[in-house]
């Protein structure tokens, strides 16, 4: 006979109480796991939608204004292509995606259109030096999204195009924005002559409601050659992690690109930060609620158990059990309940998330195995925290109170 065996026997012999106590903590943990499992996927979706807002940092030539970026004046200043390489080969964290662009207003027939040269992803990936940075050779990242790969599942081409991430854009190919396509009566697989050079229209881009709808996108090399501005770009659009922005990403970029103007697109950044903070707050609020509700439930269960076992505590104290033995008895019980509740809560919560996620939130939820560890740790913490006060009172009982009851 040991104290641990005594605890197990007591748990086993009072099954109905065991089930009640276990149920309280299991349900609490299950709710947290289910919410967290669903909210992680939801956060990824939200982050993906935030990405669709576009780049949140602009690197412009020194002296250029935001107006220059949008109006694409013929004599707008430019910056060297080498700057892209500087960013890629630096150790700055938080640059999730970038897109160097050269933009100029040109004539197509009698119509004025904005021609934008962009660097397709395949071209960036083909550069060994850039590949080694591990940034653009990989699948697109989602700004500020949780670490799980959010983009693997959706893979929608239209969505990628909306995000201005073009996998391939061969020489003499171009993409047309929805408005310019309407205005010039362009269609996919058709052709367009720009400044004497023929381009194949690969796709008409879906409407985005931005200036991009009125642009024609072609390979950056073609545009540089066409405009006679070799190795120069108008701007580098960067998708920066909003947390990194608030932690000084702009300053770091300014250090490696001293003769540039680096600015954030305030509305996008603030939306991203606010949305991320909201998601974190919701999860935190749920966690606090469950912590208190779970803690009080377990505390109540242990307190009822302490009261029921007052006499037993008195007998043990009379026979020479120290206060520490009483602590051990009840805290071991709380620990066992915590571990069991954590495991069962994880299984139940994950099952609920996987089954209910598609119905309630329209998202596919997969088990997150690391949550098993967190569930057990949280459950044990709640269980022990809730049991501490009743156990303290149990250890303080005078043995003679129980003897007098006899």
């Amino acid at each position: 006979m040991t104290i641990l065996k005594l605890v197990f026997i007591e748990l086993w012999k009072r099954k109905s109480q065991l089930i009640t106590g276990l149920l309280a903590i299991t349900l609490g943990i299950a709710v947290i796991v289910a919410i967290q499992s669903v909210s992680v996927v939801s956060e990824q979706n939200v982050a993906r939608n935030l990405d669709n807002l576009g780049a949140n940092i602009l690197v412009l030539p020194q002296g250029a204004s935001i107006d220059d970026y949008y109006t694409s004046d013929i004599d707008a200043p430019t910056l060297p292509m080498d700057y892209v390489e500087r960013i890629l080969t630096s150790t700055i964290a938080g640059v999730d995606n970038m897109s160097p662009k050269l933009t100029r207003r040109v004539k197509v027939g009698d119509q004025s259109v904005v021609l934008t040269g962009i660097l397709p992803k395949s071209e960036i990936a083909s550069k060994p030096l850039w590949q080694s940075s591990g940034l653009l050779g990989a699948e697109l990242k989602t700004a500020c999204a949780p670490s799980q790969s959010a983009n693997k599942s959706h893979g929608l081409e239209d969505e990628k195009l909306k995000r201005k991430a073009i996998d391939t854009l061969n020489s003499k190919d171009c993409l047309a924005g929805s408005q310019v396509a309407k205005r010039l009566k362009l269609s996919a697989n058709g052709r367009i002559n720009i400044m004497g050079k023929e381009f194949n229209i690969v796709k008409i881009l879906p409407e985005t409601g931005t200036v991009d709808d009125d642009r024609i996108f072609a390979n950056l090399r073609d545009v540089q050659q066409l405009l006679g501005i070799e190795n120069q770009v108008s701007a580098i659009e960067i998708m920066g992690c909003c947390n990194a922005i608030s932690e000084g990403l702009l300053g770091k970029l300014r250090n490696i690109l001293p003769d540039t103007r680096i600015t954030t697109i305030g509305q996008i950044v603030s939306t991203q930060i606010e949305t991320n903070q909201l998601m974190k707050k919701i999860t935190l609020i749920m966690l606090i609620i469950i912590f208190f509700v779970g803690g009080i439930s377990i505390g109540n269960y242990i307190w009822a158990n302490v009261n029921e076992r007052k006499r037993e505590i008195g007998i043990l104290r009379m026979m020479g059990a120290e206060r520490s033995t009483i602590y051990k008895m009840f805290l071991l019980k709380a620990l066992i309940l915590g571990v069991a509740g954590g495991i069962l809560g994880y299984l139940l919560g994950t099952l609920a998330g996987v089954i209910l996620g598609p119905y309630l939130a329209g998202i596919v939820v997969k088990p997150v195995y690391i949550y098993l560890l967190w569930s057990v740790l949280l459950s044990v913490t709640i269980s022990l925290a809730g049991s501490l006060f009743p156990t303290y009172l149990a250890a303080k009982f005078d043995p003679h109170t129980n003897l007098q009851e006899d």
Binding site: M1, L6, I9, M319, G320, E322, T325, H400, L403, D406
Partner: protein, 225 residues
């Protein structure tokens, strides 16, 4: 001499009134004595039993156990003395309801952290001694009152204490079973030289004492063999 009480005073305060539960009580107990403590209800018998080994603290006076003063030592040391040197038997048996006979008997050894095999061996021997070797896996509710009290006796002697404190051990038993239990206590007292201090209302039980204390209103009114 194994136990000595000197001028023991235990006062309670109730609604502004001071009550002397034990009023300057003094006595000496020798090793191997079978002490019976009698007296009317509220005379201080059980208070004396509780006060001897720190289950309640004295207002004043000294208690000397095995040559050392114990009324002024800490809770941890008193707990240690109760664990190693004292066995308790109560009127209501005080068994843990969800433990089997053998598990109940092993508890004092578990508190002393004696290895499991040794615990089981000694528990079997003691249960054989009290005639319950065929009831080792029974729960207390499955046994008669007499059998339950014999478990309590087995539990009180398994750790080889110097003193057994018995508070009305036959109070819940019929006369036949009472005699059986009293004979058993006498046997333990004689064979194992364990000192017994027994509180009782029963004149028959009091007759088993080799030393008799009679209390009234917190004072020892008669003392003798």
């Amino acid at each position: 001499m194994i136990l000595q009480g000197e001028n023991i005073l235990k006062q309670y305060h109730h609604k502004g009134e001071t009550i002397n539960a034990l009023d300057h009580v003094s006595f000496k107990v020798n090793k191997g004595d079978f002490v019976t403590v009698t007296g009317p209800s509220g005379s201080g018998k059980s208070t004396l039993l509780l006060a001897l080994f720190g289950l309640i603290r004295l207002t004043s006076g000294n208690i000397i156990f095995d040559g050392k003063r114990i009324d002024n030592i800490g809770d941890r040391q008193l707990t240690d003395i109760r664990k190693k040197s004292i066995g308790y038997i109560l009127q209501s048996f005080a068994l843990i309801p969800y433990l089997t006979t053998i598990q109940n008997v092993m508890i004092p050894l578990a508190l002393e952290k004696i290895p499991g095999k040794e615990q089981a061996k000694r528990a079997r021997e003691i249960l054989d001694y009290v005639g319950l070797s065929d009831r080792m896996e029974h729960l207390p509710r499955e046994l008669s009152a007499g059998q339950q009290q014999r478990i309590a006796i087995a539990r009180s002697i398994i750790h080889r204490p110097q003193i057994i404190m018995a508070d009305e051990p036959t109070g819940n038993l019929d006369p036949t079973l009472s005699l059986e239990i009293l004979e058993f206590l006498k046997k333990i007292n004689r064979e194992n030289k364990i000192t017994i201090i027994m509180v009782t209302h029963s004149p028959v039980a009091a007759g088993y004492g080799t030393m008799k204390l009679h209390l009234n209103e917190g004072k020892i009114v008669t003392s003798g063999n």
